[in-house]
């Protein structure tokens, strides 16, 4: 029973990035792309292979610059994409020459991105739209995560994994099979990402009661979800998606840089500008005027090439506030999706059961990297409030009675970027966590269907 004293392992596998770490920590130990590079070729002649290899070594050092943006969104403390020497070491080490070990020849995370630049590896993303698409790849991805990155023995730890809302129970069973049978882990708990994001918001001083009721706005790289959660249960029928997220913001910035004829308008530059300079403005006309009156609002971004021999100065202007504005005015960059995020949040909450709506308005929680813009929460709160107050006023006029009003509150906190992981870390460090896990013994007794249900954390302590 040694696992009882070890910290649980918390793994959050997202579509774009995977966060790995141990419960009780403030931030994940590893953040890297959920990517896996596997060998493509069946066994070929050894002579062609050597040629291939030297070519691939060359191409790596060349194309490091072009691919670097792929890895740049990794916020990991330990960076795996650092040097070219590292990458060639990876590639010279490959095992494909040894017959029968092809299935061990793969890389994950940033190493996978590097390896995929050679002809021999093909890159794939085992998670699409939050759900696991390729179980074989995912199993190998987990294997490397546990043994190569975290370097732990699965039989000594409980695992907390995350799943998207509306994940079919069959997927959970599949996860249980892999974790109990392949890895022989001590215990397993699978939590819904939105619920963990709510738990993460408890670290904000704004939150007084630790309830699991609230609306989660989860915006990553590909898509933005609005997910209502009532007492720990996701209200699946009311979930809404916005096809606007981090990638669209980056593309929008790139378009502006091109229109202005800046010296460098690469995706990497646009991404760096997004992370460094962007913020949400209360009113764009006023903000335009501020910039025109006061030149100090314009910023400058310096692009250096790989060996730091040349520098380019990029002026950064209106895109600082225009880019995040596409959440609030999607019209300015997309022609098919026109509903602003605040309106969508309001619609989502209104399609929920009437008795939880107040709680949902009261606790709107942000999660994910694309909600990190300065004043994002403030603007959202103001806009939702305006919509709600207008409606209340209207219904007061019609009914002639006085409403008690609705308190709209948007909670933003410092752990927003890895909110889901942090929420998992928070819950998995509690003493009760291990009693909520399904253990290996349970699994052997009842079979994979035990993971269809998990008891909720008892939060009313």
């Amino acid at each position: 029973m040694s696992y009882l004293n070890n910290p649980a392992v918390v793994m959050d596998n997202g579509t774009g990035l995977t966060k790995l770490g141990f419960a009780g920590n403030d931030s994940p130990s590893y953040v890297f792309p959920t990517a896996i590079a596997t060998t493509t070729g069946k066994s070929t002649g050894s002579s062609t292979r050597t040629v291939d290899q030297s070519f691939s070594n060359l191409s790596v050092s060349d194309s490091n610059t072009s691919k670097a943006y792929l890895t740049s969104n990794s916020t990991s403390a330990t960076n795996f994409n650092s040097s070219a020497t590292h990458s060639s070491a990876i590639l010279s080490n490959h095992l494909s020459g040894k017959r029968g070990t092809e299935d061990l020849d793969f890389y994950i995370g940033n190493e996978a991105l590097l390896a995929s630049q050679s002809q021999q590896y093909s890159l794939s993303y085992p998670i699409r739209h939050g759900q696991v698409e390729n179980w074989d790849h995912m199993e190998r991805f987990w294997e490397n995560s546990i043994f190569k990155y975290l370097r732990t023995e699965p039989e000594d730890h409980c695992f907390l994994l995350t799943e998207p809302p509306l994940n079919p129970p069959e997927n959970r069973e599949q996860v249980a099979e892999i974790f109990f049978e392949s890895f022989n882990c001590a215990g397993l708990y699978i939590a819904v990402q939105a619920v963990l994001a709510l738990a993460a918001s408890w670290s904000s001083p704004k939150v007084t009661d630790r309830s699991l009721t609230g609306t989660v706005i989860d915006s990553g790289d590909g898509v933005t979800h609005v997910i209502p959660v009532a007492e720990g249960y996701v209200i699946g029928s009311a979930i809404k998606n916005v096809p606007i997220a981090g990638r669209d913001i980056t593309n929008f910035i790139q378009q502006i840089l091109r229109d202005r004829g800046e010296l460098d308008a690469s995706l990497k530059t646009a991404e760096a500008i997004k992370q460094e300079f962007c913020y949400v403005a209360p009113d764009i006309v006023k903000e335009f005027n501020k910039y025109d009156r006061d030149g100090s609002k314009f910023a400058q971004y310096i692009v250096e090439n790989q060996d730091k021999t040349s520098r380019k100065l990029i002026d950064v202007g209106y895109e600082r506030f225009l880019a995040p504005e596409i959440f609030f005015n999607p019209e300015i960059c997309s022609s098919d999706f026109l509903t602003p995020l605040p309106t969508l949040v309001d619609e989502t909450i209104r399609s929920c059961p009437i008795d939880v709506r107040k709680g949902l308005y009261n606790n709107i929680v942000l999660s994910g990297g694309s909600t990190m813009f300065k004043d994002f929460g403030r603007r959202l709160q103001r806009d939702v409030k305006t919509i709600v107050n207008k409606r209340i006023e209207h219904s007061e006029q019609l009914s002639g009675t006085k409403s008690t009003g609705i308190d709209v509150q948007v909670v933003s906190h410092r752990r927003q970027r890895n909110a889901v992981w942090f929420g998992g870390s928070l819950l998995a460090q509690t003493g009760e966590f291990k009693s909520y896990c399904h253990t290996k013994a349970d699994y052997d007794e009842y079979g994979p269907e035990i993971v269809r249900t998990f008891s909720l954390f008892n939060v009313a302590q």
Partner: protein
């Protein structure tokens, strides 16, 4: 939050409206004695950058029509300039353009007749002429003010720049509502 609207309220007792276009007072016009000099052309320039991003615009006040006309006119002005045009060239170019482009709303070849809901069947020749004169003055004032703004150093608003500010030129390819005059 939809696109921004004009704040000038048209009162038909004081402002003449021809073909649904209000002839709002222009501040440079000496015949107008008004307290502040903020007029419709200033508003067009202030709202231009924000509104060019929008593809939909609902006309609420009749001054919104003048605003739309102005924004689209700035669009075509900017497309005449290049990143290297000098200020004197720009003044000449835009003045000539203001004089030349003279399709009056309500005439059959004006592209926005539908959007402006213009019914010109009852408009007299004199009114047409008056609207033509007014819009020409409007365009000249607008072009002058535009040149002043475009040739301002973006880092220091008190300095004049040699070439057009790229923070204006970045809008030259944008099209308000995907339309042009």
């Amino acid at each position: 939050m939809p696109a921004y609207h004009s704040t000038f309220i048209v009162d038909e007792r004081y402002t003449k409206v021809i073909n649904n276009i209000p002839l709002l007072a222009l501040a440079s016009d000496n015949s107008v004695i008004s307290g502040d000099s903020y007029d419709i052309t200033d508003e067009v320039l202030d709202l231009f950058k924000a509104n060019t991003f929008f593809k939909n615009f609902e006309i609420i006040n009749s001054s919104d029509r003048l605003l739309t006309y102005g924004i689209l006119y700035i669009n075509s002005c900017l497309s005449l300039l290049s990143f290297t045009t000098s200020k004197n060239d720009a003044i000449k170019k835009l003045y000539n353009f203001a004089i030349d482009s003279n399709v009056v709303p309500g005439e059959p070849n004006f592209k926005l007749n539908n959007m402006f809901m213009i019914n010109s069947s009852t408009t007299s020749r004199g009114d047409f002429e008056e609207l033509k004169q007014y819009l020409q003055a409007f365009r000249i004032v607008l072009a002058n003010k535009l040149v002043q703004r475009v040739y301002t150093d973006f880092k220091d608003a008190t300095k004049e720049a040699e070439v057009p500010s790229k923070f204006w030129m970045q809008f030259s390819k944008k099209k308000f509502m995907n339309k042009s005059l």
